[in-house]
């Protein structure tokens, strides 16, 4: 049913109903934000919990399909062995490489030391 879901979801009440079903906790959101190195304010985290619940609730209907024996498709192009010869190509000078860097020290890209 190609368009059934459009029909259903454009009725907001139904979306609201689905939103309540999905379970992703604030803790989950905090863990994922940490993995993704994203600082979220408290408000953002609360909003994110609601938004992710809504979308994850929606996509759950993929579970209706039993696809155990189906091979996953990572890309649709049917290519193999796209390789390049081992030949040197001109790159960037040091100045060009560092030109976009927010902070430079000792001829390199400087960042706050890890762990402090």
């Amino acid at each position: 049913m190609f368009y059934k879901v459009v029909a259903l979801v454009l009725i907001g009440v139904w979306v609201g109903g689905r939103t309540l079903c999905a379970v992703i906790s604030g803790e989950d959101v905090a863990y994922v934000a940490r993995l993704a190195r994203l600082r979220l304010t408290e408000d953002e985290q609360a909003q994110m919990t609601r938004d992710l619940s809504s979308v994850l609730g929606y996509v759950e209907h993929m579970d209706e399909l039993s696809l155990e024996d189906v091979q996953p498709t990572a890309r649709v192009v049917d290519l193999v062995n796209e390789l390049r010869p081992d030949e040197v190509k001109p790159g960037l000078t040091k100045d060009q490489a560092l030109a976009n860097a927010p902070e430079v020290a000792d001829g390199g890209f400087a960042v706050p030391a890890a762990g402090s």
Binding site: L35, V80, D86, K89, S116
Partner: protein
């Protein structure tokens, strides 16, 4: 748990090998160790927005050659994945590696099974600056992306190793094998071969593995052996004290012999591997695999067999020569200089026994002052009895010290063997006269007593006499 519990160490190794290609894994930047920081980069290996990786064909061939040399099967269709974590030495925020289908799997090298060998890209180099200059110190980290994107093969063994010494010997074989393939410089000091060890212990007879710790980045064979032994000792002490081994990552400090726990790069190891959508599968044809197989050189294991079977060298010496890349190359050079009909076994014994004793097992003899031709000549002088064993050892001392020509040294130091000369017969007469007790003993059947006579002769001749020749003359004179 009683003190009497016997533990069996179980060790698996993970070895990263930098491939000796001209360019990086996914871009055309030149590879060079020790270049000025950030002079070997391009938008691709700096992870600029919009850039895409394109794999290096030579790196793929080198990876296949490595797999074949380790007896692996080559995947007909292998894939790249993204391994996601944040660290400044990782410009894209993920490392392109292989995950569920590595290019090489299920091999074996000298009794240690190879779980897999896969392709990936190296990280860049973080230079930690600041007050303490250490990872945990305050201050800044400065990143040099020259190394970032160097093609790597990561070899993962099954846990088939049971001691530090075995790990060391096996790694030496692996290194010699890779070096012989010519796919890497395998230089531990420059980081083109790096080794981590997973170590656990279990009561002898138990099947399940104990909790393992991971020993990171040990940069010499000696430290690998010592680090593993130290960790085995630490775990054994823990269990004997009724405590538990924690799963952790450790660093071995060779100067103090101590192990310290490292903070992990990402506190939660959730790498979120998924298939790299920017790359298509690598599917080597069977023709290509056959071609690479056919071009493999004689590998150290085969070489050891040949030394033992064809040259008559002892199994242990053969292995030592074949598994130690530099020693083996030097030995081959001496064989070549000695030419046909040389006493290859004697050459092996002199290289492994005498030269190694003088320069050390980890040294590269090619960098010593003893030219292969000089070594060949010295061994041939011994064979011709032109110089005695003792005399030859003195010559070798001189060679190691300042190089030169063995004949000239023999001449200059007056070390020419006396051989079957009247002079030697006279000295033997004097020796018998001076050792009446020994003569009595020999006559009554105790040939061990000849030691005193030989000692006298050697002293008189300053080692130029041949022990065998002296024995022969003594037997003649005493009618034994």
């Amino acid at each position: 748990m009683s003190d009497a519990t016997q533990y069996e160490p179980v060790i698996g190794l993970e070895i990263h090998i930098q491939l000796a290609t001209n360019t990086k894994m996914f871009c055309g930047c030149r590879l060079e160790f020790g270049a000025e920081p950030n002079t070997l980069t391009c938008p691709v290996c700096l992870g600029h927005p919009g850039t895409l990786p394109v794999p290096n064909e030579q790196a793929v061939k080198f990876a296949i050659a490595t797999g074949l040399a380790l007896g692996c099967s080559i995947a007909p269709r292998s894939m790249f994945h993204r391994k996601n974590y944040f660290y400044p030495d990782l410009p894209k925020g993920y490392q392109i590696s292989q995950f569920d289908i590595p290019i090489c799997a299920n091999g074996e090298l000298s009794g240690v099974r190879i779980h897999r060998a896969h392709m990936e890209e190296d990280a860049a180099k973080n230079i930690h600056v600041g007050e303490s200059g250490r990872i945990h110190g305050a201050g800044r980290t400065v990143v040099d992306y020259n190394r970032g994107g160097t093609p790597l093969v990561e070899i993962v063994t099954e846990p088939d190793i049971h001691s530090g010494a075995q790990a060391r010997e096996w790694l030496q074989l692996l290194r010699a094998t890779i070096k012989r393939l010519g796919v890497s410089d395998v230089n531990m000091e420059e980081g083109s071969l790096r080794c981590d060890a997973n170590i656990s212990i279990r009561p002898v007879g138990q099947k399940e593995l104990g909790v393992k710790s991971e020993l990171k980045n040990m940069n010499s064979f000696r430290f690998i052996e010592r680090g593993i032994d130290a960790e085995i000792a630490r775990q054994t002490a823990l269990l004997n004290a009724g405590e538990k081994v924690e799963q952790e990552t450790l660093h071995f400090d060779p100067s103090s012999g101590s192990l310290t726990s490292l903070r992990s790069k990402e506190e939660a190891h959730d790498y979120r591997y998924f298939p790299e959508p920017d790359l298509v599968p690598v599917a080597p044809s069977s023709e290509l695999i056959d071609e690479i197989r056919a071009s493999l050189p004689e590998l150290p294991l085969q070489k050891a067999e040949r030394y033992e079977n064809d040259l008559g060298i002892s199994a242990e010496t053969s292995k030592f020569l074949a598994f130690n890349a530099e020693m083996g190359a030097y030995f081959e050079a001496v064989l070549a200089a000695a030419g046909d009909g040389a006493d290859n076994k004697r050459i092996g014994d002199w290289v492994v026994g005498e030269l190694v004793a003088r320069i050390g097992a980890d040294a590269d003899p090619a960098e010593s002052k003893v030219e292969p031709a000089a070594m060949a000549r010295l061994v041939s002088l011994v064979g011709e009895k032109a110089v005695t064993n003792a005399g030859a050892k003195t010559v070798l001392d001189k060679l190691v010290e300042s190089g030169g020509d063995p004949d000239a040294i023999v001449e200059a130091e007056g070390l020419a063997a006396m051989g079957d000369s009247d002079e030697l017969a006279g000295i033997v007469d004097a020796a018998l006269e001076a050792n009446p007790k020994a003569v009595e003993d020999m006559k009554s059947g105790n040939m061990k007593a000849i030691g005193a006579v030989i000692g006298f002769v050697m002293k008189q001749t300053q080692g130029r006499a041949d022990g065998g020749e002296v024995t022969k003359i003594v037997r003649e004179k005493l009618g034994l």
